[in-house]
Amino acid sequence: MAEKRSKKLVQGNEACSEGALYAGCRFYAGYPITPSTEVAEILSARLPNVGGKFIQMEDEIASISAVIGASLAGLKSLTATSGPGFSLKQEGIGYACMAEVPCVIVNVMRGGPSTGYPTGPSQSDVMQAKWGTHGDHPVIAVTPAYVQEIFSETVRAFNLAERYRTPVLILYDEIVGHMREPVTFPLPGELEVIDRVKPTCPLEEYLPYDTEYEIAPLAAFGEGYRFHVTGLNHRADGFPTNDSKLIEKGIKRLTGKIENHREDIWKNEEYLLDDADIVVFAFGSTARSARYSVRKARENGLKAGLLRPLTLWPFPEKAVRDAVVRAKAVIVPEMNLGQIVHEVERCACGVKVEGIFRVDGEPINPRQILDVIEKYR
């Protein structure tokens, strides 16, 4: 047991690639786009060395489709993109939700709409992450803020995708994607890695959407199990149905399999929240500014605290409700014109919620947040 953890200074996007490999990802399809390109670049070199496959596809729609196909063939699969590419992938993300195909999609957020500001950070795709694809559908999105955390959250994203048979989104922004921090790489076995449950039944009895289960085992194409996959509402055997009872049951199970397990999926950092009467709710790189501001506010005698979700979707309703019990105000800084602030408001039980928004491609700096905290002295 002389094996030692290695410590390296790496970029956020590199930590994402390494986290994916650690989680057992063996397939990547994508179309390069700033500021996510390094994920593809690194995996194009690394995947072939571990028996994986890397394909640069002709566009983003083809990329997400290839990822879904590879996952159905049994491989843990990843694609990475940014705003414009994320828009294109929405069709496939909806298909993966409906067909219950585990996969992981990284969106390194940059300024939008359209091609926007490729080299500047943003957090303006967070509602798109929730509602970008049409229809009632389950969404899991994780929002790491540190390079080390991009590694571990990428592993967790794969675990959630496999456990819940669903696409999982990793949302971070240009700042954490491109910044470098020392990362201590865990040894194999140190972090939990979850693999999908596979069927053990006789070949002819397999039902890919067996309602005996909340989440049915998923066979890999090529292993002998024959099954049908469609984006249409379907029966337990995967073939389309117009039966209204089955349709309702199917959609409710689809969303319920995430809603019923929110406690398992939620993850938050609570910093100095215990006695806080001014709560800052922030995620991603903005949470780093917020943490700094909260620390400064404490030095100035203010009871400020930070609630930082690592799971943004499903929204951490309970954590917000718990955090606002003693609060006179909740401050929500985000690099957009006000998206998550409305979710916070919904859960803030009438406590005053104030947003701090920024869309000029510059980070929200600690001074901006501190000035608002000071208002509630």
């Binding site: 410590k7 200074l9 080299t119 700042i175 943490r291 980070p363 600690p366």
Partner: protein, 187 residues
């Protein structure tokens, strides 16, 4: 006293300012025992234009990764110096290439001028190592990383064939920084 040491490397795109930032952060966090973050801002162009990299070094975890009050800034061009010097803190250090930066900004900080690019050209025959020479200057003048860590970090990032060249560039930086300090009457 804030447990945070902030550095900014600025120049023109292609001068290796981002690599200098990476090496500084690596020296502090991988080869010394501190922690560090390195971030950058850049435009769509890969050459030309003002470019900057920022490094935060601390003994404890770093939250905000961008500069707030700069302890030490390097400027290899006038444009970068003019554009980026405003955040240098009271008592901080500004290191400029004295051939390039003629308008030294006024402020409550110490300025060291040295012909960095010209020295790299004259003594090493390669202006491309101006960034490594700068790292030598900074390591010696600030003491924020050990010289041993700096050397290891530099060598880990350069091809074998250029190890000697980079070692010499770094050493020139260390040596000249001592002279600069002696000249400015600062121990």
């Amino acid at each position: 006293m804030e447990d945070r040491y902030e550095l900014r490397f600025s120049g023109s795109g292609g001068q290796g300012m981002i690599l200098a930032g990476i090496i500084m952060a690596e020296a502090a966090s991988v080869y010394d025992t501190k922690t560090a973050t390195q971030s950058q801002s850049y435009g769509p162009e890969s050459r030309g234009g003002a470019s900057k990299a920022e490094v935060i070094i601390s003994d404890s975890p770093i939250d905000y990764p961008k500069a707030t009050a700069i302890d030490c800034m390097l400027a290899l061009t006038q444009e970068a110096c003019t554009k980026y010097h405003a955040d240098i803190k009271k008592g901080g250090i500004l290191i400029v290439d004295s051939d390039e930066v003629k308008e030294i900004p006024r402020g409550d900080f110490k300025v060291y001028g040295f012909p960095i690019i010209e020295t790299a050209r004259k003594e090493l025959g390669k202006t491309i190592v101006a960034n490594i020479l700068s790292l030598g200057l900074i390591a010696e003048l600030t003491g924020i990383v050990t010289k041993d860590a700096m050397e290891k970090a530099v060598l880990s990032r350069v091809p074998k064939a250029f190890e000697d060249l980079n070692k010499r560039a770094l050493q020139i930086g260390f040596d000249r920084a001592k002279e600069l300090r002696a000249k400015s009457g600062n121990a």
